[in-house]
């Protein structure tokens, strides 16, 4: 009986980092979009910045999801 602690450890590490990073990024994206709406209403220049940031976050999440599908399929 040998327990593959290294594999278990990496599952733990990878899951933790992936979950927190993804949830964090996605939340940033959502918050960015709401900020953008508020800023656009106020007519500030930060609207573009907020929107670009939000789309960058969503793009990163979409990439992660595609990688997930790739992992499932291959």
């Amino acid at each position: 009986m040998n327990i593959d602690w290294a594999a278990l450890g990496s599952v733990f590490g990878v899951s933790l980092v992936a979950t927190v990073a993804l949830v964090g990024l996605f939340t940033l994206g959502i918050v960015g979009l709401t900020k953008q709406e508020a800023a656009a209403a106020g007519g500030g220049g930060s609207a573009v910045l907020a929107r670009t940031g939000a789309y960058a976050c969503f793009a990163a999440c979409a990439a992660a999801v595609s990688y997930g599908i790739y992992l499932i399929v291959v």
Binding site: S10, S15, T19, G29, V65
Partner: protein
């Protein structure tokens, strides 16, 4: 296909029934949080999950070459042993469904195989070490890993989004949750439908229909995919209710964190090579997310019942399988008797379930349910010491309150008070 014996046909049908109960049982993993937070309508959620399960069944390129991943020696596995194992697994799946507890279908199948193997060739046929590394350790690790990840993720998402307008963000969380739930469904289809294909293929090989090492024929892939998708679509509403509403109360943020954590854990574990059960990961993620919100509570009475069910999965499925194997060994009449017993038991469980129907219309209503969440909270409140600064005579008043609270509790919830 022309030489399929009656026994082989029974094994194939039973394997498909197991596949069906597997889908039925595990819909909750992917869709419970999506349904309870209202991200998708119940029917839409299970339909989406069913389609993704079916797609997943066709995506898998690597065929399950072993049924048990080395837990039992597979040289001596006969169709009878597989049949007995499936009977144990199906009955355990249906029993846990009846009482609405999520439990691992793979563990039920492994328990069935262990029991049937012991009854068939003795204890020597089971690799005890593999049972520990592939069943016990993952069962403890999975909820912890997923729970901690979901806990931290929900903390983070509340922290980042604390100044954002709840209504504006709800749509975003909804989309995120649906995406993660879709990934879980897809992964489930590839893993679990494949398991059934593996069983049927191995049974066909054992019966001499297919040559050893061959891939499953198309009809096997199609049948397994359809069985799991149908099971998923019919939805184990009782388990969905427990996972989505029974364990804790989830807001969209938490649902998103829980589902993302579950998806990450499932994908990481199946690719790094330390396989963790989907059910255990999802339940752990839901509880972790429940604790991640300020003021969030986990109903430990329900959680305890779930843990007990996890502990019982292997022995219970094993016992039924061992009994079935003992009877099937007696000859053709034994196989017929076990098949009749299986059908009878399934029918009985179904009739009992009709007494209190849980379906897509009432899956999110927990009021009036047997779940005494408020009672347990009251009991805990009664047991906890009074706040500091309270006069000592309050203690006296507390003492009669304790047994009263205990009396009103359901027996099943008692471990929670310890």
């Amino acid at each position: 296909m022309e030489h399929i014996t009656l026994l082989l046909a029974i094994v194939i049908v039973t394997a498909l029934v197991f596949d069906f109960t597997n889908g039925f049982h595990d819909t909750a993993n992917a869709m419970a949080t999506t349904i309870s937070t209202g991200a998708l309508k119940p029917k839409t959620a299970v339909a989406m999950s069913a389609v993704l399960n079916l797609v997943g069944a066709f995506l898998s390129v690597e065929v399950a070459k072993t049924i048990s991943s080395g837990i039992v020696t597979e040289d001596g596995i006969t169709p009878q042993v597989i049949f007995a194992a499936l009977v144990g697994a199906i009955l355990w799946n249906l029993m846990t469904w009846l009482i609405g507890l999520p439990s691992s279908s793979s563990h039920a199948l492994m328990g069935g195989l262990i029991g049937a193997t012991i009854a068939s060739v003795g204890v020597g046929g089971v690799n005890g070490g593999t049972v520990v590394t592939k069943v016990l350790i993952p069962a403890i690790a999975a909820p912890l890993v997923a729970g901690i990840a979901a806990f931290l993720a929900s903390r983070l998402t509340y922290r980042i989004g604390r100044n954002a307008d709840g209504k504006a963000t709800a749509k975003g969380y909804r989309a995120g949750q649906i995406t993660s739930a879709g990934l879980v469904s897809l992964a489930h289809g590839t893993n679990d439908a494949q398991k059934t294909m593996g069983i049927i293929t191995l049974a066909l090989i054992a019966g001499g229909i297919l040559s050893p090492g061959s891939n499953p024929p198309m009809w096997v892939i199609l049948a397994a995919g359809l069985a799991i998708a149908l099971g998923t679509y019919l939805g184990g509403w009782r388990i969905i209710r427990t996972m989505g509403k029974g364990l804790t109360d989830l807001q969209p943020q938490q649902g998103f964190a829980a589902q993302t954590s579950a998806a990450s854990v499932i994908l990481a574990s199946s690719n790094i090579g330390f396989s963790l059960s989907t059910t255990h990961s999802c339940s752990g993620a839901v509880m972790g997310a429940g604790l991640g919100r300020k003021g969030g509570v986990v109903r430990w009475s329900t959680a305890t019942r779930m843990f007990v069910a996890w502990g019982l999965t292997l022995p219970a499925a094993g016992l039924v399988a061992a009994g079935s194997e003992f009877v099937t060994k007696q000859g053709d009449w034994g196989v017929a008797a076990v098949a009749a017993f299986l059908i009878g038991a399934c029918a009985a469980i179904w009739f009992v379930s009709r007494r209190q129907v849980v379906d897509h219309t009432n899956v999110n209503d927990v009021t009036g349910d047997a779940e005494p969440a408020g009672v347990v909270t009251a009991a805990i409140a009664a047991v906890t010491p009074p706040p500091a600064g309270t006069p000592a005579q309050d203690l006296k008043a507390n003492i009669p309150a304790q047994p009263q609270a205990a009396d009103s509790e359901e027996p099943a919830t008692q471990p929670a008070r310890v």
